[in-house]
Amino acid sequence: MTAHQQPPRGTAPARTYPDRWERYSPRERAVHWLWLGGIALAAAWSVSALDIEWAFFADAHEQAVDLVERMWPPRWSYLPRIVQPLIETLHIATLGTMIAVVFALPVAFLAARNTTWNQGTWLIGRAMLVLSRSINTVIWGLVFVAIFGPGPVAGICAVAARSVGFIAKLVAEAIEEVDAGQVEAVESTGATTLQVYGVAILPQILPVLIGTTIYRWDINVRESSVLGFVGAGGIGLLLYASINQFAWSQALVILIAILGIVIVSEVLSAYVRSRIV
């Protein structure tokens, strides 16, 4: 076999072809190295500052096995005790989501460029989104427990506070993508703004609204299970207590119960959302 390509016989004399080729220009490669270097630096900085006791990890697997042995078998006799808190957890998630939807709709209209009053109101709407979404449900729980005292009310408010931003952001995006032609058609009949929203925009965003709400409800079931840690109701309190008292087999029962309701809510949520689209 010849070492390099021969041109077809009878055509022009052999052309010379380059024998070197680089995928990335030197500048591109420099940028890649900078990124890699930056990431390595960030990694080293974060791990080094975190004072890790490497000795701990030596027997970590033994500790894990020990833990599993203490947890098994689950203390099923504890089950009746947790039914009521479990239901409370579900209520917190559901009521919180319901309240959130009510508030999310107006906030979404505020935060959407095509339905907001002016630049100022849009910024207010956006700020509300950022505030609601940046603060985790559990942290909201802390805030509301301080305000309303411990109990499910704080939990419901916490769930609602976090969910408003989540739902409103996605609905606002849907509002911005609404078919402008339909809106114009209704506007040209002389309808008031609210009528336009109700007749032209709402039907278009309804699937997104419902789908997002159900999706958030599913997430909220998971979040509500831990609100009890900060005193905001639900089964979290019992779980925290069990773990602190080293009542591992009890804790396992609670974990299994939580696993149960989260899986059920996920299946339900997926089913309903598939029926909507």
Partner: protein, 268 residues
Amino acid sequence: MTAATAARPERWRPPSLFGSPGRRLAFWALVCAYLIWSLSTLNVDTARILAGLPRAWTILERMVPPDFSRWQLLLTGMVESIQIAIAATIVGAVLSVPLGIAAAANLSPRPLYLAARGFIVVGRTFHEVIIAIFFVKLFGFGPVAGLLTLAFSSAIFLGKMLAEDIENMKPGPVEAIRATGASFGQTFFYAVVPQVLVKTLGVLIYRLDSNLRHSTVIGIVGAGGIGQTLSASFTRYDFDFASAILLTIAAMVAFGEWFSDWARRRLR
């Protein structure tokens, strides 16, 4: 033409989302019934709530203006949260590679696949706070527990995403590279990696942002970071400091999200 004009209906209702007025009625009845049931069974002491409202107002008043005088404490907490988030994402990413490959139906033998998928399902169910409590119990208070918690949950999330990417891979290019006589390693790097790399990087950045959010929370149960600072301030009724911390958290998370969006857009 008479048949069509004879029976024109006098009233018209728009088609209901529910398919029939009966179902719509049933839905709203269900909602009302649920509200009544839940509100009655909930342990709500309305008298106490109402009595607490003026107290609530006082607290809100005390939260404004936020007190930034102890900003060094704020900074330390924030830095620690960021460090936990970065380190956890990296450790989680490393752990997610074997997990993701094991959970990919087209690469992994069936029993391993089922075990990996089962592990992912269970791991995803539990909130990071629950996992944090366990790690705090095992490794004590402090950022190490936080790192482990988020590394664990990151590995599960990233592993699931990786498995899905591998399963959605186009088999054609892999077949073509195989057909040139390439080895398994060459096929992996020439046909598999380019297909999943960009999406995986995007997911990594997304997870970094998520971890930043979560790192603020797990401190509440003692796993380090600014959450611990926040929890302490509430316990001590330092509401103005608390609101300063809340604002800092909001700013940090918002920045993280902006960075995540920017980086993922540049990746395209």
